[in-house]
């Protein structure tokens, strides 16, 4: 009996689910041999409440999403948080710096009364999560790795060291040397430092490593001419939720 897999989206851009389809034809066929995809609203019409593994995309940003998520947790044997919004709250939490009434007012003006919102939060702020597939968007190979691990009941081998390690292995010149600031020293690797290799810097989408040396990161950034406030602004893009709760 193949395990039944369901995908659910909450508040987000749905890019994680779409990237999950970015497999080679052979990989898709292998995957369909290993599991039954029973719920995947974005590409599939039929659905069921009978599933074993639930992938959750997006953060939680409305009261009505909380009971929906709890129901999924009750049903699923395994819950996987897919992508930055689900794993760490992601960019959606940028609005948490404002009173919710003000966010509603900025976007909807005089019609704000029609709508509701709560501060955005990751999935594990509402229900326990068994596996995390990090990144905005996740690396497809890592998604495959996590699926294989959970089918075997094993813990996937995901780095808990900073992006700098992979960045050096990729042969990049440190962006600090080029006068650009980067969150790589405290952010969890696993992305092969793709943003830096592509000419940019680390924005922190995979979240902090378990024991980040935040003070030393702040010291480095300050050394290169950013104020603490500017540094905090950079952290906030993906890691507002961690910042608020720590």
């Amino acid at each position: 009996m193949k395990p039944k897999v369901a995908f659910f989206d909450f508040t987000g851009c749905e890019g994680c689910q779409l990237d999950a389809l970015n497999l080679d034809a052979g990989e898709v066929i292998d995957l369909l041999n290993a599991v039954d995809i029973v719920n995947f609203r974005e590409v599939k019409t039929e659905r069921t409440d009978d599933y074993d593994i639930a992938f959750i995309e997006g953060s939680i940003s409305r009261e009505s999403e909380i009971p929906r998520l709890k129901k999924i947790r009750d049903q699923a044997k395994i819950v996987v948080a897919l992508g930055s919004c689900a794993c760490i709250g992601g960019v959606n939490c940028l609005k948490n710096h404002l009173p919710m009434e003000e966010a509603l007012q900025i976007v909807y003006g005089k019609d704000a009364r029609y709508y509701d919102t709560i501060p955005a939060r990751p999935v594990n702020a509402v229900v326990p999560v068994d596996y995390y597939v990090r990144g905005c968007p996740p690396v497809t190979a890592e998604l495959v790795k996590v699926i294989k691990a959970l089918l075997l009941g094993k813990k996937p081998d995901i780095p808990n060291y900073p992006v700098c390690v992979e960045c050096k292995m990729a042969g990049n010149v440190c962006v600090f040397e080029r006068g650009i600031t980067c969150l790589g020293p405290v952010i969890r690797a696993g992305c092969d430092a793709i943003c830096i290799t592509s000419g940019r810097r680390c924005w922190g989408c995979r979240g902090l490593v378990d024991d980040p040396n935040l003070d030393s990161e702040k010291d480095i950034l300050k050394k290169y001419g950013l104020t603490v406030e500017q540094v905090v602004e950079k952290f906030r893009i993906y890691n507002t939720y961690a910042e608020v709760t720590k």
Binding site: D9, F10, T11, G12, C13, E14, G15, C16, Q17, L18, D19, L21, N22, L23, A25, V28, L32, I37, F40, R41, E42, V43, K44, T45, E46, R47, G58, S61, R62, E65, G90, V91, N92, L94, K95, L98, E102, A103, L104, I106, V107, Y108, D111, Y114, Y115, T117, A120, C136, P137, I194, C195, T197, S198, G199, R200, W203, Q230, E233, K234, I237
Partner: protein, 422 residues
């Protein structure tokens, strides 16, 4: 015999985001017919405030997981307009090529993965692996090619990386571009197969004329340049975009609706086709003829066919662009950005239609005000009006058929619902 009492509530699938189709009839009369958008808003216009210009396009990209290249490009253009930056010719050529890659991927996903199952009697692409393996393998191959092209240009397709205000932070490898040229030529054969497949599908016969709005550029079939063209009202400059869009809220939708000269207007592949048909490249024109699509076309179900035609245009254009880029040679260009206080408007044709980003910055390059108007925002009202015209013609049919036809209508628009709510 009309359906006397219908109580239809469709939680729409095979679209991006959450929307419901509600239809209640009583004694054969329509009591309620609504296109409801229930997606959770993310408040991007609020989140972009206080951000540094170099983070703005990175965040704005996250408005949409399918058309992140459109949002990134539009965002960068708005910032460049605010700062008075004119991107180099090389940057524009690379942006166009990258843009085509996203258009290809997005249109192919819609036509072959989301729409085709309706015509082939399946609930998704998954069972088609068994029944139509050749089509599925071809679709995955084409999608992957478009994805890899974007990857070569911008590091990855979903939330591209190398695009920056003022230029590209990393240039593609010319050898790799040359290899893509060959692969794109080979893919023309796959697109011929796609055209043949679409020729066999019977598209519902329904027309409702509306206003069609798209970017128009005298030089080419416009995607990242031009002014706002309407089939009703002629062409106006970008800074008049608020007078065209006229956004308004309705309680049953977290996404705003729009209207211009009529009750509603349409944007997207068919609106572009109706405004800019003459500028399509030869192979695309030939495909349009083969598929029975001619401008003006007022059948919304033909949007997907217009997408197939645009896919061929984008592929042909990409081959031409690679030739141009390789002929002039890629040169490292230093990105210089001088910030200044001011307002800038960016406009592009996202796969689903015209997209606007409007930013105001302070003298330190910190964003103080943002407004984003999304293609699907602009289509929601047109979807509603189409449903109102279509449903009375469906009521003599079985409920299953009513449901499927309504689903197919909304799906034809390829709505990007979470993007429209942003």
């Amino acid at each position: 015999m009309n359906q006397v009492n219908l109580n239809v509530h469709i939680d729409l699938t095979r679209v991006e985001g959450h929307g419901h189709i509600i239809l209640h009839t009583s004694d054969g009369k329509i009591e309620k017919l609504l296109w409801e958008v229930v997606e959770s808003p993310r408040f991007f216009e609020a989140m972009l405030r206080s951000r540094h210009y170099d983070d703005v396009h990175h965040i704005a990209s996250r408005i949409c997981g399918i058309c992140s290249i459109a949002h990134t490009t539009c965002s960068i253009q708005a910032t460049e307009a605010a700062f008075g930056i004119q991107p180099s010719e090389q940057t524009l050529l690379l942006r166009k090529l990258l843009y085509n890659a996203e258009l290809l991927e997005s249109h192919l996903l819609h036509a072959l993965f989301l729409v085709a199952p309706d015509f082939l009697g399946a609930d998704s692409v998954f069972p088609l692996v068994a029944t139509h393996k050749d089509v599925v393998v071809m679709a995955l191959r084409l999608k992957k090619l478009a994805y890899n092209l974007a990857e070569a240009l911008a590091g990855r397709k979903t939330h591209p990386l190398s695009c920056a205000v003022g230029g590209f932070a990393r240039l593609p490898d010319p050898g790799e571009l040359k290899a893509f040229r060959k692969k794109l030529e080979d893919a023309l054969v796959d697109l011929d197969t796609t055209v043949k497949l679409f020729k066999t599908l019977s598209i519902p016969d329904f027309t409702r004329e509306t206003e069609y709005i798209a970017l128009k550029d005298p030089k080419e079939y416009a995607f990242i340049s031009g002014q706002i063209a309407s089939t009703d009202a002629g062409t106006v400059p970008l800074d008049k975009y608020l007078e065209v869009t006229n956004e308004f809220c309705v309680p049953h939708s977290t996404a705003k609706f729009t209207k211009n000269k009529r009750d509603s207007y349409m944007v997207g592949a068919l609106a572009r086709f109706n405004n800019n048909y003459d500028q399509l490249l030869p192979r695309a024109k030939k495909a349009a003829k083969e598929l029975g699509l001619s401008a003006p076309c007022h059948n919304p179900f033909m949007i997907t066919v217009a997408q197939v035609v645009e896919t061929i245009h984008a592929l042909e254009d990409s081959i031409n662009l690679i030739d141009k880029i390789l002929a002039r040679g890629l040169k490292e260009e230093k990105i210089v950005v001088k910030v200044r206080a001011g307002r800038g408007i960016g406009a592009v044709e996202a796969p689903r239609g015209i997209l606007f980003h409007d930013y105001t910055y302070d003298a330190n390059g910190i964003l103080t005000r943002a407004n984003c108007i999304i293609p699907t925002n602009q289509n929601h009202n047109n979807i509603q009006k189409d449903m109102e015209a279509l449903v009375p013609r469906l009521l003599n049919q079985p409920e299953d058929k009513v449901r499927l036809t309504l689903e197919m209508l909304v799906r034809a628009y390829d709505p990007c619902i979470s993007c429209s709510t942003h």
